[in-house]
């Protein structure tokens, strides 16, 4: 997944920068310059080079990369889009389905695999957060607001999800799961059959 790529890029980059900085610190400990050196002759390298130019270039690249990935993950119009609703409360989730307004499930969200799904997230009481780590990042469930999260499961299966915003004493057990179905099972689910 794209976010995992970002993580590996950043982890390797950060490790390299950490080693560079610590190497410079240790080299500074070993250096034996004359202690009377009170000049500012290191300024071009330390301030202009490492202090200003180095982070600006690195960060501009990283921010641009991150925003590009972010744009790709936004909910956009798609022909085979499925819309579901997720309503959080202390400490359970209710899911409803645009394809059949009568359908309702508790703590298990059913979606078709291989198709983009928009989850319309809201909350009945306090702030919660909808998070299925394998499918997408998290998005908060805020009372009075509806946030739309785009998820897509590549293969059928069960994906663990949990609320990721502290919500009181039942927070630790505030979990749910996502069932991704192949087309036949999805059709059966919509017809009210056992998924």
């Amino acid at each position: 997944m794209a976010i995992a790529d970002i993580w590996w890029v950043m982890l390797i980059g950060a490790a390299a920068i950490f080693l560079l900085v610590m190497g410079l610190v240790l080299a500074g400990l070993a250096s034996r310059a004359a202690p009377s050196d009170e000049g500012e002759r290191g300024t071009p390298v330390w301030i202009w080079g490492l202090g200003l130019a180095f982070p600006m270039v690195t960060l501009a690249a990283l921010t641009g990369y991150g925003l590009m990935i972010g744009e790709r993950l936004l909910p956009r119009a798609a022909p085979d889009l499925v819309t579901v609703e997720a309503e959080a409360r202390q400490w359970a989730w209710t899911f409803r389905y645009a394809d059949d307004p009568a359908l309702r499930t508790e703590d298990v969200l059913h979606i078709p695999a291989g198709r983009p799904v928009d989850v319309r997230i809201t909350s009945r009481d306090v702030v919660h957060s909808f998070w299925v780590p394998q499918l997408a990042g998290k998005l908060d469930a805020i009372p009075g607001r509806v946030n739309v999260l785009r998820i897509e499961a590549a293969t059928p299966g069960t994906y663990a999800g949990q609320s990721a915003e502290f919500s009181g004493t039942g927070y630790a057990g505030h979990v749910f799961s996502v069932e991704a179905h192949d087309p036949a099972a999805w059709a059966a689910f919509l017809q009210g059959g056992a998924p």
Partner: protein, 454 residues
């Protein structure tokens, strides 16, 4: 108390006299333009003024004192006690989290413990501890007898003691707030937290903020108006620069938090609508107000410690600081930038991606002035000869830990990655790297530098 006050006042002055960039003719006992008679007259005047400036010698002097050394010492002792309490709470959290599903603490207790750990460390330890250092050291560094508005300083101390102990006493009675140290409504609203805990939090924390604002006013006036003759801003000890910048930040960042606390308290007490949807409020308003304070707060905590590093590290390297002006400029730009990125705490609240892009760029941008400081310090190490004494060892710990904290911070500023790790232990780890490495280690270095115990 008078004698100890005098001795403490000498401390910083003597230290700065040892710095290589200090000219020997600035030593107070070697001034060539004074005759022995003038010196004797000055000494007589000093002795005549001492009773006016010093505190009551009896025990009640501790309660009525307005001397900066006494206030600073009391501040330091109280803040350190709260640090120990916060540490004990951290151990309880770790004990609970050592095994999954542990029955060590019930959820009700655990929620109080983790809420109080964050509250104590942020509000009762970190801010007052650097205020204590500033009150204690600034007059000595600036060559003045006391802080401006000494009674305001005493007021700040006692308001802080009141607010801090109110929160701690509530915790000992089992009535501590349990809605997280960020107190998001509606969880902290009357409907979902009916107890007295959030009220104690809001009133206690507001007291501590009032105390911080009074300290900030003192610092600003002291630095701008009370410097010794001939000490221009550009010649101040660099710690004074950092603490001046922090004081201006406090004056700007704390009012939104005080406003938020007042609104939430009014909502809880009188059912006025600010954060409840049913009555037309919006829970996101709290998050904006809280983080508009909460993010500058991080730099309010880091910059005094950075000022300590910029003071101690050149002594350890036996040279002067590389790029004094650059470091000051970096601190100023950090202060300005820190007010433009609070939304990176709210990347997952459904704010449009274009808005997030602005805050993401601003969040990565703060790494630039931080890098200027870090590399100025490493350059200082390179051009000097480093003495590996105790404060320097703590500063090495700062470099390793804080750089990891900074790099993980840049990762968190990347929006899609943030969507995954927001509200996870990645954030917990990041903020502890930053605060332990960027605040606790330098402050311990500063304390051990100021009092080597010899």
């Amino acid at each position: 108390m008078t004698a100890s006050s005098e001795a403490a006042n000498q401390g910083p002055a003597e230290r700065t006299a040892e710095r290589p960039d200090q000219r020997p003719d600035q030593r107070p006992d070697q001034r060539a333009d004074q005759t022995p008679a003038q010196r004797a007259a000055a000494l007589r005047l000093h002795r005549a003024l001492m009773p006016i400036w010093s505190s009551d010698q009896r025990f009640r002097g501790w309660l009525t004192t307005s001397n900066n050394n006494d206030i600073g010492t009391l501040f330091l002792i109280v803040a350190t006690s709260f640090f120990l309490i916060g540490g004990i709470l951290a151990m309880l959290i770790r004990a609970q989290l050592a095994t999954p599903g542990s029955a060590f603490l019930a959820p009700e207790v655990y929620n109080q413990v983790f809420t109080m750990h964050g509250t104590v460390m942020m509000f009762l330890f970190a801010i007052p501890f650097f205020e204590a250092m500033a009150v204690l050291l600034l007059p000595g560094m600036l060559g003045t007898r006391d802080m401006a508005f000494p009674r305001l300083g005493a007021y700040g101390l006692w308001v802080y003691m009141f607010g801090g102990s109110a929160v701690i006493i509530a915790m000992l009675m089992g009535l501590a707030p349990d809605g997280g140290w960020f107190m998001y409504p509606p969880l902290s609203s009357a409907a979902f937290s009916p107890g007295i805990g959030p009220d104690v939090w809001l009133l206690g924390i507001t007291s501590i903020e009032v105390s911080a604002i009074s300290a900030a006013i003192e610092v600003i006036v002291t630095v701008l108006r009370y410097r010794a003759a001939g000490m221009s801003l550009a010649r101040m000890p660099i710690f004074a620069w950092f603490i001046l910048i922090v004081a201006v930040m406090i004056l700007t960042a704390f009012p939104p938090m005080i406003l938020g606390s007042l609104l939430l308290e009014v909502e809880r007490a009188f059912d006025w609508p600010f954060f409840q949807v049913e009555n037309g409020g919006d829970p996101l308003l709290w998050q904006h107000l809280f983080w508009l304070f909460g993010h500058p707060e991080v730099y309010i905590i880091f910059l005094p410690a950075a000022g300590m590093i910029a003071t101690v590290l050149p002594v350890m390297a036996q040279t002067n600081l590389l790029g004094y002006g650059w470091v000051v400029a970096a601190a100023v730009s950090l202060a300005v930038l820190s007010f433009g990125l609070w939304v990176h705490h709210m990347f997952t609240t459904g704010i449009p991606h274009m808005g997030l892009a602005f805050f993401s760029a601003a969040s990565t941008l703060v790494a630039v002035p931080t890098a200027v400081m870090i590399f100025s310090w490493i350059g200082t190490l390179w051009k000097g000869q480093v003495r590996l004494e105790l404060p320097m060892l703590w500063l090495l710990g700062f470099f390793a830990t804080f750089v990891i904290g900074g790099l993980t911070g840049v990762m968190l500023a990347v929006v899609p990655f943030n969507w995954q790790v927001h509200d996870t232990h990645f954030v917990v780890a990041h903020l502890h790297y930053v605060l332990i490495g960027g605040y606790v280690f330098p402050m311990i270095a500063a304390v051990s530098h100021g009092d080597p115990g010899e």
